[in-house]
């Protein structure tokens, strides 16, 4: 066995070192497979800081403002949760994530929670735990140039559509509607590629595309051709099995709703006063009293 894994022609003393280095490498790899067991809530309190994954390219939920600060609807929620758990809204570290890496980062332990436009669906629920839902996000809409002839989702068959990797609706686009998807990691590349005419339209979430088409330089050349076919609730995400932590975060979210934080955020970020958020605020207030 020893001769099988070490170089046969090496002298006996060298073979001993080679075997030792192989064994130690195997031990190192094996040691990383042993998971550490500690309660997440305690760990966060001990650390004194809540590490949250947020979007920085997705107005109005999480984006980089003109002053260089990260702000948005979800940042407000995250800061409130940090205040409830740790006593201060500044005991928080905001980590920029994108759709294609947020769950990975959560499960790898690099972030404690996801507040990054995470849509709920049964596949994801098998891997992570969702908090209470806090917003109904308009589903996929189609943004095209003003003179495009597309009026319905069925007409995108065979056409190239830009999008983001990891979006819930990408599979529906290719399987059900027969479109060809050109997917990028971040929204900046997606918008640039569309402006270069690398695709006929952008198929992405309603809120951000609606905001984009109202911007200068976009509003006179592009339009929303087809509206959403579904609304999808978004929620926070935490690792599976962290019961105490999930409970604490859920309580913080409900408290935020009761105190009217979400209704106020909607107004601050010009999201329009949605019925869903108002209703949840009412229910939370009623439960608190």
């Amino acid at each position: 066995m020893v001769t099988a894994v070490t170089r046969v022609n090496a002298p006996k003393s060298r073979r001993k070192w080679q075997l030792a280095s192989l064994v130690s490498l195997a031990c190192a790899i094996g040691a990383t497979a042993i998971p550490a067991k500690a309660d997440q809530l305690e760990k966060v309190k001990e650390r004194g800081k809540l590490v949250v994954g947020i979007k920085t390219d997705y107005p109005p939920f999480g984006y980089l403002g003109a002053d260089g600060q990260v702000k948005g609807f979800e940042i407000d929620i995250a800061k409130f949760v940090a205040k409830e758990l740790l006593g201060s809204a500044d005991a928080i570290e905001l980590v920029p994530v994108v759709a294609s890496n947020r769950i990975e980062l959560l499960n790898a332990g690099r972030i404690d929670a996801i507040f990054a436009t995470l849509g709920t669906n049964p596949d994801r629920a098998k891997i992570i735990d969702f908090t209470h839902e806090y917003y109904q996000m308009e589903g996929m809409v189609l943004l095209t140039s003003k003179d495009s002839a597309i009026t319905a989702w069925e007409e995108v068959k065979g056409k190239k559509l830009c999008g983001i990797q990891g979006n819930l609706y990408n599979r529906t686009l290719t399987e059900k509607f027969g479109a060809e998807t050109v997917l990028f990691a971040g929204t900046a590349e997606m918008f640039k590629a569309f402006q270069d005419n690398r695709c006929e339209g952008i198929a992405f979430d309603g809120p951000i595309l609606n905001m984009k088409v109202a911007e200068d330089g976009w509003k006179d050349k592009y339009k929303i051709a087809v509206g959403a076919f579904a609304f999808n609730p978004i929620a926070g995400g935490v690792r599976k099995g962290e019961v105490a932590f999930l409970e604490a975060v859920n309580k913080a979210i409900t408290d935020a709703e009761a105190k009217g934080v979400l209704v106020a955020s909607e107004k601050t970020f010009n999201m329009g006063a949605s019925e869903y958020v108002a209703k949840r605020a009412e229910e939370a207030k009623a439960k608190a009293n």
Binding site: A33, S100, N107, R124, L183, E189, K192
Partner: protein, 237 residues
Amino acid sequence: MNLDFSWLADPYYQYWLLRGLGTTILMSVLGLVLMMVIGIAGALIIHLRVPVLATWTTLFVEMFRNTPPLVQLFFLYFMLSEMGLTLTDPATGQRIPIFSGFTCAVLSLGLYNGALAIEIIRSGLLAVPLQTVEGARSLGYSRVQTFRYIELPIGLRLSMPAMTNNVVSLIKTSNQAALVAVADIMYTATQIMLENFRNLEVMIFVWVVYVALSSLAVVAMRYIDRLIRIPGYGAVA
């Protein structure tokens, strides 16, 4: 640590992965061809000190070797159309970019590794013993003939180990095409990961694929090396 590879049996995923693998192999092959053409042409120009072209080639090498290949790829994909290099699509009458994502990826690989190849082949050419070159010149070979019959054959053989490095580097760098929406193995693997969340298993699979591809390239290079070796010349490896 229990690994679940059952997703490999899904025919939809298999189709994606095979398509991605095909794209990666095609990109690598085309990139390699472009790399060798640029490498030999550039080494010839610099070694023979052709008047104006040598300076341009040196500038090219410095520019493309000293910048990250990803930056070069993004420049080709996003910036060229900004600079006006567009075509008018006959079907829609719109201005579309001149290079597709695939072409941009192949070009960036060929240019970046080509610049490295110029330096590698040049190092091989400089290692040809001066006495051999002088002997050829004294026999009446012109400078170009010396290059073609003496320096280049020996130089290429001497630079084989470094060139193997470059070939493997090209195959590995090809995975940056996933960032410009080219459906190579990295891109399709990311799609699968985002659907079934089996990050570790998918990444192990991608790792195995790249190790296999690179090992195949290394074995091919070793075979070529043995095939074209000059018997009795130089150190016996």
